[in-house]
Amino acid sequence: MRPFGIRLGMFWALFVASVLMFVRNRAAVFFSLFLPLIIMLIFGVLNFEGTTTIGLGLVDEARNGASEGLIDGLAAFEYIEPTTGSREEQLANLEAGDLDFVLVIPSGFDPLPGQVTGLVAYASTADPGQAQIRQGLLQQAVGTALFAPTGTPPGGAFGAPPVSFESVQSRDLGYIDFLVPGIVGMTVMQLGLFGVAFGFVHLKRTGALRRLFATPTSPAYFLGAQVASRLIICVVQVAILLGIGIWFGLQMFGDYLTLGVIVLLAAIIFLAIGFAIAGWAKNEDQAAPVANLISLPMMFLSGVFFPRDAMPDFLANITQFMPLTYVNEALRAVVNHGANLASLGPQLLGMGAWAVITFLIAIRLFKWE
């Protein structure tokens, strides 16, 4: 069978060989599948939930001095992470589980001690165990921000709480929902970088590659089979990780096809980096430090285990351009919020740019011998 002149039998044989070589290589299977699983289990057991910060969405419909004063006052609290936006945006974020409260400042806002402020906070139904504490913290913060400068005690003269609450049905996103997409991104990175670099450099160093090209096969078949096998292995690994994640309570809000597209695009970026290293390095000793130098910063700075919000601004600004950051953002948008490709423009643009850059570097650095 030779559709378009492609020898399917030759490609298939190389593909099967490539899969067998990976599956039978214990080190490759351990580092690319079991290690991410172990990391996921460890972080899943540690469970970094229950932080006392409050994600507060602010909707300023007053736009006067009083509302600005309140917003500035709230921003001064360390445990409040404020964002501003329209009512629709913020309520959508609340439902998606990104915020704990949406505080609406009504038009004509002019708070006076002892009078009803008109402030309404929509509260997330997620994490009910923490709800009372969070509401108390918000009341206190708003009271302080409004009246502390005038010396009036929080709560007003008649002790009426400044904020009234309304519940909004929201997604209850736990740490597992944050962690699993990050682990998926990390696994794709590790597979691309390490799954290719070491195996390929080994074949190059021992001369197995040279033996292959003593036959009439073309390098394109070998490379094609390698890439195809890694992509398939990658999809299987992601499926396993997601399956185990779901068993541990991960909620999947997106569709699997969209997720698959993100995973494949990510795999292409990291495979290109892997082939660039493999094509450049003469032996495993040259490949290892470079692969680690590329993967370690991303593992810790691209938001695999912890939200990147916790980083200092300068670091967050730099690391937002790393390939794995785009990948993780896109994966989380799909898994946690059911995003579709159309709403992932910036991430897809970033990933696409990296795919082109890494592919060009790989072509430039690649040497067969």
Binding site: M10, L20, M21, R210, A214, T215
Partner: protein, 254 residues
């Protein structure tokens, strides 16, 4: 010569300042076992690899089974079998899987069991190459070069590093291949090997062929020049021819 299955004309290859092969010409008849002898660095392997299509040719021509190597290296590779000097295979695959994979690279189904039986490795079918002994590795390497029933089999120092038993075993295999009518081109350091196996030998030194004939005639020529051994047991053997032509000094690979 009836039909030349390999025809090499004025082949040259330069690496930087080193003229590795400096105008080599010869023809090999179908069914012949042809030896290329020479000290390390004489240009044997480079010559072989240029004929095989494994290395670009600077100038000159090499035609194998009617196909010009420069014009169609894959066409040549499809018709020949190559045993590289340092052959290595995919570690995770067993012998049968490797032979079947190599078969597919030539677009054909192979009888792996028969090929392994051919090189007396039938009982190692499910082993991996790394578990084989040196002699077994070389025999497997030859089996892998036979999957496409090649018109010409190229063996680059097939017995280097083997003990005498393994070497004699391999000689038996080469003779059987020859009896089937396949042409064999081999390089070697061992004069005894060349005398045992080769119909004709080319002796290379410094990138040139310094002698080309049957082992017996080369010896006769040397004796005809009045050569005598210091201690006469046999009048002379091919090793004397070799050393006479290429010098006695030990040479290390550069």
């Amino acid at each position: 010569m009836p039909t030349a299955i390999v025809a090499v004309h004025d082949l040259r290859k330069r690496y930087g300042s080193l003229q590795a092969v400096d105008g080599v010409s010869f023809e090999i008849a179908e069914g012949e076992v042809f030896g290329i002898l020479g000290p390390n660095g004489a240009g044997k392997t480079t010559t072989l690899e240029m004929i095989e299509g494994m290395r670009p040719i600077d100038s000159g021509t090499a035609v194998v089974d009617g196909i010009d190597v420069t014009a169609d290296p894959r066409g040549v590779k499809a018709r020949i079998g190559i045993q590289l000097q340092a052959s290595s295979f995919f570690d995770e695959l067993n012998l049968v899987e490797l032979l079947e994979l190599f078969g597919h690279l030539y677009d054909r189904e192979v009888d792996a069991a028969a090929l392994l039986a051919d090189v007396e490795l039938g009982d190692k079918a499910r082993s991996q190459v790394r578990t084989l002994s040196g002699g077994q590795k070389q025999r497997f390497s030859i089996a892998s070069a036979l999957v496409n029933e090649p018109r010409v089999l190229f063996l680059d120092e097939p017995t280097t590093g083997l003990d005498p038993q393994a070497r004699h075993h391999l000689w038996g295999l080469v003779r059987r291949i020859r009896e089937r009518g396949q042409t064999v081109v081999l390089t070697t350091h061992y004069m005894e090997e060349a005398e045992e196996l080769c119909d004709r030998v080319a002796i290379m030194d410094g990138g040139l062929i310094v002698a080309l004939d049957t082992p017996q005639r080369l010896v006769d020529v040397l004796l005809g020049r009045g050569f005598t051994k210091a201690r006469v047991e046999r009048l002379a053997n091919l090793e004397d021819v070799f050393l006479d032509l290429t010098g006695h000094d030990l040479r290390e690979e550069g």
